[in-house]
Amino acid sequence: MSLLELHHVGYRVGDTPILQDVNLKIDKQEWVTIAGPSGSGKSTLVRIIASLLSKTSGELQFAGQPIESYDPIAYRRRVSYAFQQPTLFGETVADNLAFPYQIRQAPFDQQRAVTALEYVGLGEADLTKHVTDLSGGQRQRIALLRNVMIYPEVLILDEVTAGLDAENKTFVWNMIQHFNQDDHLTIIAITHDQSEIESAKRLVTIENGQIVGGVQ
């Protein structure tokens, strides 16, 4: 049994099909790269997997159970979705790293936040930094840390390195590698970046709402 299984998944808006007959199995700790032209349905697919959208046909199973059997909130804490151009909340970096604790009514683990910040080239002093004072790359790093302050099982990345410079890309990529290898997170990453596509461990290609390449 795979961690995530999609059987004949479809999504349509009115009469317009966005995704058709998508079959995909993703194992625990696997790293799947999803590529395809703009508007091909990549984001829709991962938003369905993240339970931010509901499929209109087919079946989606997580850990052997249909997605409908999970409470959506609890599910999203296990399958976390990171956006391309993240919005940071509140005023400071700490507000953002504390958010995952706040929504679980748990005390903020500042030590863990500092360790995480150091890991991405920032430090304790940055906790009080105002979010408007961060560079694009720093914003993305903070947003990603927000997704993993309390580890999910699956981390979905929707073009998180798009628009970043080479240095920031490397930073983010090393982070994700660490999550995947050391923390056993399953990674599903959408990308347009040719080097990321070429170095993909497993590549799934989508065109016109259908999987056209990659082992299903």
């Binding site: 931010l52 909130i73 999203r76 956006f83 909340f89 995952p100």
Partner: protein, 252 residues
């Protein structure tokens, strides 16, 4: 009573409307028709309500008073709903929020001995409370709609991090409740300095000692604070869930 408004003086005061009409016509505002309809409606509605209130006050019947209060609440709820722009269940939400905000405020005022359960007090006070609650709720709805559009990305990100609907909407809720209450807070801040509000002006106009009139106005200020805060909080907390579907996803 030193009021000197009679039918003849009203007719002469109609000249003021002619000034407004002349401005509208000269500036080509295209609102002449609306203005005339507005004036005719105001005159008819007020005459009808004047005679109606006169007989209701004379009859002084508990049930009749309650029915009139409920009609006021229903109308206020219906009007607030018109501002909802598609928020699901806006009519029952508005009516219930206005009913509770009016009920609680009236109850406290009665317990405090500030008003008595007689139609001459209950009906006008209910109207003041319900209309302020209505305006507050209308503002809340407008702000909820605007904020859920403007903050869509932030809400989606909070949901994606596993926030429940309340946590994902918290900033929007806070902002909307504040928006609903803001006009009441602003007018409380400027009462007496900028404006001499209707109730106080009316009492002074009718010959009541200004020191006595301001006590009524203080009561009105307190009661409107209570009504708009209760109305805004209830309407926002009941309405925001309408922006999500049963799978706790943000509706497009």
């Amino acid at each position: 009573m030193n009021l000197a408004v009679n039918n003849q003086s009203l007719l002469l005061a109609l000249g003021l409307v002619v000034i407004a009409l002349a401005i509208g016509w000269k500036e080509k505002l295209g609102i002449d028709r609306d203005m005339i309809i507005g004036v005719v409606r105001a005159v008819i509605q007020l005459f009808v309500v004047g005679y109606l209130l006169k007989s209701v006050f004379r009859v002084n019947n508990l049930w009749l008073t309650l029915i009139l209060i409920l009609i006021i609440i229903f109308n206020a709820g219906y009007n607030a709903k018109q501002r909802s722009n598609g928020i699901p269940r806006a009519l029952p939400i508005s009516i219930t929020a206005i009913f509770l905000s009016t009920g609680v405020t009236l109850g406290v005022l009665m317990l405090a001995g500030a008003i008595r359960f007689i139609p001459a007090q209950m009906i006008p006070i209910s109207g003041m409370i319900a209309s302020n609650s209505m305006v507050a709720i209308g503002l809340c709805y407008r702000n909820l709609n605007a904020q859920f559009k403007q903050e869509r990305q932030a809400v989606l990100e909070k949901l994606a991090l596993g926030a429940d609907l309340k946590d994902a909407s918290r900033d929007i809720l806070r902002d909307s409740i504040k928006t609903g209450m803001q006009p009441t807070i602003d007018s409380a801040k400027t009462v007496g300095i900028v404006s001499l509000p209707g109730m106080m002006s009316g009492l002074i106009f009718a010959g009541v000692d200004p020191v006595r009139a301001i006590k009524y106005q203080i009561m009105v200020t307190f009661m409107l604070m209570s009504a708009t805060s209760i109305g805004s909080v209830l309407a926002c907390y009941w309405a925001y869930k309408g922006f999500y579907n049963e799978r706790k996803q943000l509706i497009n």
